[in-house]
């Protein structure tokens, strides 16, 4: 198969996403008071409603409605003032009533849009010149959102007797209704995405947005956020859509990218070989890095959708929508811009911090506890040192102050991090107690520099002959002479100064 970059020179990929997000931060299911939980024993959280017992009726969870409206506001959707729940029928034991309660043609949120900023090597995946680019090749592209609707999740099925829990070959399946009826929002994009990187970025953006809203833990790995991608190819310059395939079983952002990349290349090969792409659902196998066809549908499904008579319509008032709007916190883009504008952060660092609400909170807490002007150092700590470590905002602030003062080196900061992690120790105190603080007393350091220059005549000669690298050796000698307490940056400055005289 040809590589993606080559394929996309000849073909345009048209990609759309369907993203299901479980509202994991709620206490209860969508239409009953059963506890929402991920790791309970099978059928521990069930009741007549979510088991579809005869006579049971649904009552919607108000916070779920608030959550989806917040999601709609955060993705620039129009909040539809009147909508209804519908019943979507299919016979499968994962739906206790053999219909799913979902929304009809009018969803709570319609016609939204997110502007994607694509930069770095990912931006090179898109070869066409239709997007305006900055000097480094990055570009911004709008992705329209068709709708976000509210629905209920299905039960979990465990297939027994086949290989690796697969449904094919299984002799029986076990049904656990704990997840049945869990509140789910489904976002459907317009087919506006053009590269796997755009799809990956969109998904990441969505994840960051929903995390910031606090409506879900957004775990792709655990399935609380699930993404189906569909893709078709057309020759560059054509406007008609090709036949699309749908990709399932995508449980990481990387899988989303790689599955689409594989599928684009596969379709190109099929089409270039004179073959034809079939409309089908394909399963991504991460271990073998390929998609395989699942069963083909002979006929389009007819779900017999109709408005659920058990559920009153929704008529969202201005007050309700405004209340939801007030609950939408500062979103990642705005946060990023603020970090750049008021703290002078590098855009990439700002974006990375703003993308994760927990990291952003830590960053802001640390900045607040630090003296002015330290924010870029705090950002540096948060982006480069912290991943994998848990520190309090005060500790991050202490660490950043020390770095900003040149009181410790970056290497020492790593060491310090290991020491204070998991304790409530103050990094500045630890540095003092352990004598790690580096001297910035220029007079004292000058004495050491003079001493070292005096006994390293060889190196001084080499430097004057043009070998500037020798400074590193001299800094090392100074550090040794100071027993590690001197600041290497200052030694470097002093050495360069004296050698240049």
């Amino acid at each position: 198969m040809r590589r993606l970059a080559e394929v996309l020179r000849d073909w345009e990929a048209v990609i759309g996403l369907e993203v299901h997000t479980e509202l994991t931060t709620l206490e209860t299911k969508m239409f009953c008071g059963c506890r929402l939980s991920h790791d309970d024993e099978p059928n521990a959280n069930v009741c007549p409603v979510c088991l579809g017992m005869p006579g049971a009726l649904p009552v919607p969870n108000e916070r779920a409605i608030e959550s989806i409206v917040m999601a709609g506001i955060a993705t620039n959707c129009e909040i539809m003032r009147r909508s209804m729940f519908y019943r979507k029928h299919y016979f499968y034991p994962d739906m206790a009533k053999n219909f799913q309660t979902t929304q009809g043609p009018v969803a709570f949120c319609m016609h939204g849009r997110l502007d994607l900023e694509v930069s770095g090597i990912g931006a090179q995946e898109r070869p066409d010149g239709t997007t305006e680019r900055t000097a480094d090749g990055s570009y911004v592209t709008p992705i329209r959102i068709l709708r976000i609707h509210m629905e209920e999740d299905a039960a979990k099925m465990v297939h027994v007797g086949g290989g690796e829990g697969r449904i094919g070959g299984a002799s029986e399946s076990l049904v656990d209704y704990n997840r049945c009826g869990a509140p789910l929002i489904e976002l459907v994009t317009e087919p506006d995405l053009r590269t796997p990187e755009e799809a990956r970025l969109f998904m990441e953006r969505l994840r960051q947005t929903f995390l910031t809203l606090g409506i879900s833990d957004c775990s792709l790995e655990h399935g609380s956020m699930r993404c189906d991608g569909n893709v078709s190819l057309r020759r560059r310059g054509e406007t008609e859509l090709g036949t699309k395939t749908e990709m399932k079983n995508i449980n990481s952002l990387k899988s989303l990218h790689d599955a689409l990349e594989y599928e684009i290349c596969r379709q190109a090969e099929v089409l270039e070989g004179g073959g034809r792409v079939y409309q089908e659902t394909r399963h991504w196998e991460p271990s073998r890095r390929r998609t395989v066809a699942m069963r083909m549908k002979e006929t389009a499904d007819d779900y017999r959708m109709y408005p659920d008579p058990d559920l009153a319509p929704f008529d969202l008032s201005d007050e309700f929508v405004e209340r939801c709007r007030a609950r939408v916190p500062e979103l990642p883009d705005a946060k990023r811009d603020r970090y750049v504008g008021s703290f002078g952060l590098r855009r990439a660092d700002a974006a990375q911090i703003a993308g994760d609400p927990a990291v952003a909170a830590l960053f802001e807490g640390a900045v607040a506890a630090s003296r002015g002007g330290v924010a870029p150092t705090v950002a540096n700590v948060v982006v480069n040192l912290l991943p994998g470590h848990v520190l309090s905002a005060a500790q991050v602030s202490g660490l950043s102050n020390l770095l900003a003062d040149d009181a410790i080196t970056f290497a020492q900061a790593r060491e310090l991090l290991e020491i204070v992690e998991g304790t409530d120790a103050d990094p500045e105190r630890v540095v003092d107690e352990r004598g790690m603080r580096q001297s910035t007393d220029v007079g004292a350091l000058e004495t050491i520099v003079d001493e070292v220059l005096g006994r390293c005549a060889d190196q001084v000669r080499q430097y004057r002959d043009g070998n500037r690298k020798v400074v590193g050796f001299l800094v090392g000698q100074c550090m040794k002479a100071s027993k590690g307490t001197g600041n290497p940056k200052l030694f470097n400055q002093l050495l360069s100064q004296k050698l240049g005289e």
């Binding site: 017992m53 005869p54 034991p93």
Partner: protein
């Protein structure tokens, strides 16, 4: 004091227990005794819950002994249509599908009756899943009309109407999707009320047509029905039913208000309709005369789209039925075909063998009507016709407080004498439109037919949420007709002594 349970109004049962004339356990035993003596002929019951009944009665007696205030329906014998969940009983919907289904919880309407102090005597026969108007489609046995056991009691709440008419219980609950309370009430000579949609919680009542179903009481007198209604709305709206509304009130408060000068509507064309039995027509004329004699103004009104309510109903109800009955697949509960090695085989055979023929017909019709390309033509159009029917009622109720019409075009017919389903569908012509519009209706016995000697009920329909007003008119009609408290003669006096 010697009394016969079947002659006592609910109020007097409760009062007698409060006064110490008899105990609740004695009442429970009298009711069990009447059931034992009468139900062999009538076959209204699917289960008699003797243990639950005696336990409830014992609690009431203990409460009285402890000097606690007694609830309003303390000790009143009640039974429930078998589509209502009651812990400790099976809920079968008279279907093989649910033959051994043990209620997993108690329906709100049942619970509210229990909270009002009633003694639960058991579960009553019905047409399978409430599809029918004879109770003959019960998978277990038909129910016989207590006035003439060769005849049907009507349906689908035939067991509820028959148990009350036979004097086995004082009050019964039924459900009405297209006339299933009012029609059997008429055929069995008892009072049966379909409240306004949303007045009584549907939680725990096995759904047939979710936008049409409404639970309501049967009694031998309007007052008993009003008491039951008060119990059903006590506590306000049910938080477990999104479509229920807060209608808490005392329906006795205005029961005996005079109707002088108030308007009752009649629809002349309906009273001349083809298929209306002459004795029923005569009974309606008589009832109109009596209402007029009571001071009511008789006003002609029109419901121009009512004639098409059957068509609208059969485009709507089967769709909701298909959807509601999809859950019966034998996986979580219900009949499961044994020996299947493949899921789709198990589902299709469980449903084929668990459901009776009418249940399958309705679901097939619904599955067809909801399919793409067909949905707009019938279902959506019928929902629009529903708008027109509702508007007709609004216009009529701007002029009158109640509309009088028959509950059924005929008196009770003999088992098996009507076999064409379409002919049976047409017999709901007088009741169906109030389910479509969601307003309230009640059937009140007005006389015995001049030819048949069988009971005939007149139906009063009222505007949405004016259930108390409807009861006032029902009470006035009852007063005028002197049929209050009648027990089917063949049953009266058999067992049930207190």
């Amino acid at each position: 004091m010697m009394a016969r349970l079947d002659t006592l109004p609910a109020r007097q049962v409760a009062a007698g227990i409060a006064a110490g004339d008899f105990t609740a356990v004695e009442v429970a035993r009298a009711s069990l005794d009447a059931i034992a003596a009468r139900d062999g002929q009538v076959q209204a019951f699917l289960q008699v819950s003797e243990e639950l009944a005696l336990a409830a009665a014992t609690r009431i007696d203990a409460a009285r002994a402890a000097g606690e205030p007694l609830p309003p329906l303390a000790g009143v014998p009640v039974a429930f249509k078998d589509n209502m969940n009651l812990l400790g009983t099976r809920t079968t919907c008279a279907s093989r599908m649910l033959e051994s289904y043990e209620s997993a919880y108690t329906a709100t309407c049942v619970q509210r009756m229990l909270d009002a102090g009633v003694i639960p005597l058991g579960k009553l026969n019905m047409d399978e899943f409430a599809f029918g108007s004879t109770t003959d489609s019960s998978a277990f046995h038909p129910t016989n009309n207590p006035w003439d056991t060769r005849r049907v009691p009507g349906g689908s709440s035939g067991g509820s109407a028959a148990a009350v008419a036979a004097g086995e219980v004082t009050v019964a609950l039924g459900s009405d999707t297209g006339g299933s309370i009012r029609q059997p009430a008429s055929l069995c000579g008892v009072v049966g009320m379909k409240p306004t949609y949303g007045v009584v919680s549907r939680y725990g009542v096995v759904a047939f047509g979710s936008s049409l179903d409404q639970v309501g009481p049967f009694g031998r007198r309007v007052e008993d029905v009003a008491l039951a209604m008060s119990a059903l709305v006590a506590g306000g709206r049910d938080r477990l039913d999104s479509t229920s509304q807060d209608c808490e009130q005392d329906y006795l408060a205005h029961l005996d208000d005079p109707i002088e000068g108030r308007a009752v509507g009649i629809i002349p064309a309906l009273l001349e309709a083809e298929g209306l039995a002459p004795e029923v027509r005569a009974a309606m004329q008589e009832a109109i005369g009596k209402l007029a004699a009571s001071g009511a103004r008789i006003v002609e009104v029109d419901l121009p789209n009512m004639a098409n309510s059957i068509a609208a109903y059969y485009a709507l109800a089967p769709c909701e039925a298909f959807s509601n009955l999809a859950r019966f697949d034998g996986v979580r509960y219900g009949y499961q075909e044994p020996g299947c090695t493949a899921l789709s085989e198990q589902l299709s055979l469980s449903r084929a063998h668990g459901f009776g023929v009418e249940a399958k017909r309705r679901q097939m019709l619904g599955a067809y009507l909801l399919s793409s390309g067909v949905y707009d033509k019938y279902y959506l159009a019928a929902q629009k016709v529903r708008t027109l029917i509702t508007a007709d009622y609004q216009r009529a109720f701007a002029q009158v407080d109640a509309i009088l019409m028959p509950s059924s075009p005929t008196v009770a017919w003999e088992h098996g004498s009507i076999s064409d389903p379409a002919a049976l569908y047409l017999s709901d012509i007088y009741t169906i439109s109030s389910n479509i519009a969601g307003n309230c209706g009640i059937s009140v016995p007005v006389c015995l037919g001049a030819q048949s000697g069988l009971p005939i009920g007149a139906q009063l329909q009222g505007r949405a949420f004016a259930d108390a007003t409807l009861l006032t008119f029902a009470r006035a009609l009852e007063r005028a007709c002197e049929m209050e408290g009648a027990v089917a003669p063949a049953c009266a006096g058999k067992g049930g002594e207190l």
